[in-house]
Amino acid sequence: MAIELREPTLIKQIEQLASETTQSVETLLEMAVRTYLDELEQGAIRRETQAFWTMHDELLQTHRGQHIALYHGTVVDHDEDVSRLEKRVREKFRSLPVLIAPVNPGPRRDLRWLGGKLANVESL
């Protein structure tokens, strides 16, 4: 698939950066697009995770002990076998960001790593 850039300033900027970093324009563009898509996916999964915890009490009534798939805040599939679920989700939603998570009782809690070194920590 050929993709054409039309914004002259943007083209110049990319060409200059490619020259300075001794990378091809194609490599640079691929990196930029990959980073952008990755950020979009992070944001989408973050929103789905928030929806998951908002719905958690309700999910416990309907899907306790199962793994669910959530897309745009709606349960789109569920299964006791998470591998089977993931396969179906990817067949249907391909590369779209879909949350897959277990529905277990108990409040939201942090994972613990005793002895782990966490660089670039966030303020609490």
Partner: protein
Amino acid sequence: MNEFPYDTLHDPSMPVCSVRLATILTGRHVELTAIIDTGADSTIVPIRHLQQIGARRAFEARLRSQWGEARTVFLYLVDLQLGEITLPGVYVVGDDLGQELVLGRNVLNRLRLLLDGPAALTRLLDNTVGVG
């Protein structure tokens, strides 16, 4: 092969094992050495290996150290193989900073594992797999 020599580059030497990381989504896999860490709730995998096999983000969580520091992380779904044991559909933390694969209790609690310090060997005692 269900015996893995300790990593003697560390002092004291460190219990490790070989792990095959894969995903059904792409069929791609990587072979890695994992640190056995009973202090970790979850298995932690450098994100570049997850990208290498094409694993996708499953959900967001927070990971906290014993000193209370916390980071937002994403969990991914992968298949793990240790020796002759295969564990499909394991949630692992994607680590965008570290370089080491850490095998945490979400996996360790499903295995019969012997840390044979005097022999400097990690032994998977049989092929029994629990639910964790």
